[in-house]
């Protein structure tokens, strides 16, 4: 009888501990343990292949995973999610090629967004060559926003690049964006709004020297006469 007691006590404790652990595990939502678990098998496989490829290339996988999760939240079907993750993957890869290995995760993400709205690899390379240790993230975010809001691509890129060369800071670009956004809401044409607001930004320091032309590099830009 005493042997039975000695056996039943620890066994009960073991079962209780296991049940407690299992209960704790089930309390955690599956999305926290494995966010991609919400994808179906085929979609998840495709997304994970791209995540692995991005990791091998040293690209930020967080952006790709976020793109997939955004698709889930917005109830996109699996095919659309895979297409979009692949698009972001390619744009990140192109952004890395244009900006170089020293580009930060945020710069790559912003540059990938700029590529997706029509900014070219050559334009990104041009911007990267004149960076002088400055961060490209905010100018690229503003550039992508302006094109998305309807500013003609060439006008937007030319204006942003000139402000960049004049030493404009992040606050200048964000101020420019706010002004243009207000003007567009008020009914001003997007391109006109940008040119008007860009004139208000003072030159900060001397423009950086033009980078030496590399084979296949973008030719030196002409000054925008409207600025």
């Amino acid at each position: 009888m005493s042997a039975l007691r000695r056996t039943i006590g620890p066994l009960t404790l073991l079962l209780a501990s296991a049940a407690s652990a299992a209960a704790q595990d089930s309390v955690l939502p599956a999305r926290e343990l494995d966010p991609l678990a919400r994808l179906n098998v085929a979609t998840r496989y495709s997304v994970e292949v791209m995540l692995d490829s991005a990791k091998m290339l040293g690209l930020p996988t967080r952006v790709l995973e976020s793109t997939a999760l955004e698709g889930i939240a917005k109830r996109a079907d699996g095919r659309r999610i895979v297409t979009q993750v692949r698009l972001v993957f390619r744009s990140l890869r192109d952004a890395r090629a244009a900006l170089g290995l020293s580009a930060s995760t945020d710069e790559l993400t912003a540059a990938a967004g700029a590529l997706r709205v029509g900014i070219t690899n050559a334009e990104l390379s041009y911007l990267a060559r004149t960076r002088h240790e400055k961060q490209l993230t905010v100018p690229l975010v503003v550039l992508a926003d302006l094109v998305t809001r309807g500013v003609p691509r060439d006008t937007a890129s030319q204006t942003i690049f000139q402000l960049w060369q004049r030493g404009a800071a992040d606050d200048d670009f964000l101020g420019l964006w706010r002004g243009v956004e207000r003007d567009i809401v008020s009914g001003t044409a997007p391109g006109v709004a940008l040119l008007n607001r860009a004139r208000e930004i003072p030159t900060r320091g001397s423009p950086p020297a033009a980078p030496p032309a590399a084979p296949g590099a973008r030719p030196e830009r002409s000054e925008n006469p409207n600025l």
Partner: protein, 200 residues
């Protein structure tokens, strides 16, 4: 044939003579027999250690030691399960790789960022983004007063973040006071916020 046999019945005499007749043995039979014996594997001898391990025995532990052992086994299982994902893949060290390659964050301390949306007709508003896995239930916003302004403070790491508001659980809305993210391909615009480091 002996006299004793001659006195017996002829049938019995025939049986006896047959029994005494030498048997003709195939000369190759002995060889085949030996080959068959050699082909049989020798019986394995169990080692003493194996016999000791396999011998059933009773282990008597005090209840406290048994409980400690059981708790240790459960803890081992739980920690092992946390280290390995459900599908058997180990978590990547991507976070460290990204932090090492990122030059933006001067300080990696999260900063409280205020998100605000005026939506007087909304019954509930939440915030989704790359910081909460685009989970519509993770970051609900609270209504301030009667003017329909919804706010929430979220601690964010310095860097670039993409986000959106979700009204009544279904309608996604970009932040009207922030730059828009490039087309997400899902039919809804999102917004971008750049959280600066402490020294930037």
């Amino acid at each position: 044939m002996s006299d004793e046999l001659q006195s017996l019945d002829p049938y019995v005499q025939w049986i006896a003579s047959e029994a005494r007749r030498p048997v003709a043995v195939d000369p190759a039979a002995r060889r085949r027999l030996l080959e068959a014996i050699h082909a049989e594997p020798l019986p394995r001898r169990e080692s003493r250690a194996l016999r000791w391990v396999l011998r059933p025995r009773a282990i008597v532990l005090p209840p406290l030691a048994t409980a400690a052992l059981a708790a240790g086994l459960v803890a081992f299982g739980v920690l092992g399960g946390m280290a390995i994902n459900r599908d058997g893949r180990r978590p990547t060290d991507q976070r460290h790789a990204e932090d090492a390659s990122s030059r933006l964050p001067v300080s990696l301390m999260p900063r409280a960022v205020k998100f605000e949306l005026v939506a007087p007709k909304a019954a509930r508003v939440s915030l989704v983004g790359d910081f909460n896995g685009w989970d519509t239930a993770a970051t609900p916003m609270t209504s301030q007063g009667a003017d329909g302004t919804w706010t929430v403070f979220v601690p964010l790491q310095p860097g670039l973040h993409t986000y959106s508001f979700v009204i009544d659980g279904t309608h996604f809305l970009a932040d009207p006071s922030a730059p828009v993210a490039p087309d997400d391909g899902y039919g809804h615009q999102s917004s971008v916020v750049v959280v600066r480091g402490s020294a930037s």
